[in-house]
Symmetry: C2
Subunit: 393 residues, 2 copies
């Protein structure tokens, strides 16, 4: 068979899935310092605890865990999860659905709501995995302008009026890739606009617990009066991404439609994985675990920001209060895609910012991750980037 004989679906016409993939192949090379991924530090991955919990839950309830489960989730976990979410958000939620990583929450929400051509408003830049998800649902992605405090409310309302969007996709806290956080007053306003204009908000908030300074902000969901805000949560950054457990919380009718979509997506999230996360919640282990993660990541972030201070004039960068990413803008005439090859030749990797931008462009931007490097790697790697950028000026 020749590949060109296969008639693939048109949803792939604008999606190649290859740009980042090539970078991730490169960072697997031995000796590479990678600022490219969004991976937790190995220290943050509780392998011994998960092993003990797996034995415990399989001993307690092994036959049920290995049997088919309900699409709605493993009942003990649904219970502990709902309590956890309501405490986190400090507001009631009418329903929660455990999903196979919060990426699946976005996939199911698009499945429930998006017909080809429907408009979704997005931050620009935004998380490329979910941009790809929305493109595969053939959504019309319209960027909303931002400043250092996140989306601009005037622009958001103007675009709601112009495009009548089905959905707004936002990462309000320590945004991926920009590191920006939406201010409290704007969070309230987003909820108000969603309720006023009957627009679903997908509030994707996987980084909210990774705060290294400043004060926590209320979730957009906490200002939601009529149920238009769906909250997407993840245990990937605070327990383990490899377990693939996340959740979606909010309006019962939308969750119900997501559940029907999930029936023919993967039937249910693996019971063993739900039961392990359930143990973390029931034993109340997350607060201490998160504190220890934040101490490590905070120190690494400060070190990377310190390094950036001595970069050549004309390099600007965000100063996040948490999360996993710093966003840097090089002088306009520099091309971060081209510079990446020089960096890789010297064993340092990052992701060019253009891959996160809805319409490409922004070739002078880069996303830097600090969580999965040692302090020594951060010092060495940032020195290499400083030299490469200086040489290119």
């Amino acid at each position: 068979m020749k590949s060109e004989e296969i008639r693939f679906a048109h949803r792939f016409d604008q999606v190649s899935g290859s740009a980042i993939r090539e970078i991730f192949k490169v960072i697997a090379q031995p000796g590479m310092i990678s600022f490219a991924g969004g991976n937790p530090s190995p220290n943050a991955l509780p392998d011994e605890l998960v092993s003990e919990m797996a034995s415990y839950v399989l001993k307690q309830n092994g036959k049920q865990l290995l049997q088919y489960g309900a699409t709605e989730g493993y009942p003990p976990f649904v219970e502990s999860l709902k309590a956890f979410v309501q405490e986190q958000l400090n507001c009631p939620v009418s329903a929660v659905l455990p999903v196979t990583g919060s990426t699946q929450a976005m996939d199911l929400l698009c499945k429930a709501l998006i017909d080809p051509g429907d408009t979704i408003l997005v931050e620009n830049p935004s998380f490329l995995g979910n941009l790809q998800c929305m493109k595969l649902y053939q959504a019309n992605l319209v960027p909303v302008n931002s400043d250092d405090n996140g989306m601009l409310m005037d622009d958001l309302e103007a675009k709601i009026l112009q495009y009548h969007p089905k959905m707004l996709y936002t990462i309000p806290t320590f945004q991926n890739p920009s590191g920006r956080t939406l201010s409290a007053d704007r969070r309230r306003k987003v909820a108000e606009l969603a309720n006023q204009y009957h627009m679903v908000v997908a509030e994707d908030d996987p980084y909210r617990d990774l705060r290294y300074c400043g004060s926590p902000l209320p979730a957009i969901k906490s200002f939601d009066t009529d149920g238009w805000v769906m909250f997407l949560g993840s245990f990937s950054k605070i327990i383990s991404p490899g377990l693939r457990v996340g959740y979606i919380a909010g309006d019962h009718g939308i969750i119900r439609k997501c559940t029907v979509g999930k029936q023919s997506t993967d039937v249910h999230t693996a019971n063993l994985n739900q039961a392990i996360v359930d143990q973390f919640l029931r034993r109340n282990l997350l607060p201490d675990h998160i504190r220890s993660i934040c101490a490590e990541y905070g120190a690494k972030m400060r070190m990377m920001l310190d390094e950036l201070e001595s970069f050549p004039a004309g390099v600007r960068f965000t100063r996040p209060e948490g999360g996993l990413f710093i966003w840097a803008e090089l002088p306009d005439h520099l091309d971060a895609v081209k510079l990446l090859q020089s960096a890789i030749d010297r064993k340092v990797a990052y992701v060019p910012g253009t891959h996160f931008c809805v319409d490409g462009g922004n070739l002078n931007t880069i996303r830097l991750n600090f969580s999965n490097s040692t302090e020594e790697q951060i010092r060495t790697g940032m020195s290499v980037l400083r030299e490469i950028i200086s040489a290119a000026l």
Copy 2:
């Protein structure tokens, strides 16, 4: 918010997801004898072994298992899986992709190939989970006629010529729900037609190892010359459905497109779950485990068939050589949906066959599962059904 204010996607217009769901709520009641699900027997679920394996793989390689993995799969599992598939099918496959249960294989294959309105040929009746999946991709489902040896090749070719389908979806071995098996000569013919007319075949074969008599048949895939047959496999029936590990094997280009689709569906299948199934393969535990499962299920199937022999005249049923299901047709004027309430009142559940039929109808049919009941439950439950059907005649 009122539910009617939400503008759900049109892909849900024909899908409610509710018919079976109500039945499964009922079978959770205590004391219910259920012939309704497709659940393995508790005896077939290796909880102690899985517990030992989880500890072992987390000790060996815990940090990597808890970290993000590649969408392409956990490398040791991809290796052992490819060897396993090639041995099972007795033919080379160009690529394998681990997925989150074989339901996800179908979802990804539809995502890769199906635009709204594209025709998929299906057996009728067929597995309702995957019928729902195809409906959510807004495919035009066209049934192919069958006899006791599976699809009729004349009808298949006529419908290929009439509808130019993108895909054929078939469960060739111990079909769900009919229990029928496609004969060897027809398997060869299906592969030939697929190659001749450039039609992808989704060969969904989760029951092939559950054979209680007769001889194994070659997979359709083994007759595939040009790569048009995609093989969907599952470990749900031979290890555990709760772990959610399946796979798709076949043409590299199609697998590549499924992989890009999977990136924004769930990123990757949970590493721990892949590593556990990898242990089953590397320790070569499946042959013995399958032998013990088949001994149990075979005895139960023979008992259910024996019970059916003494049902009233006019009740016909399939006599499968394996799998999990028997398909029964009651006299035409009986309505299995209405009879279900009488059965449930007497603590016996089944699924009315109409739910598996592409265009509904066939109200006189029922699907019976024997794997998840004890021999005593089979005797008692079948007596109840015999009485209810006799009384309705």
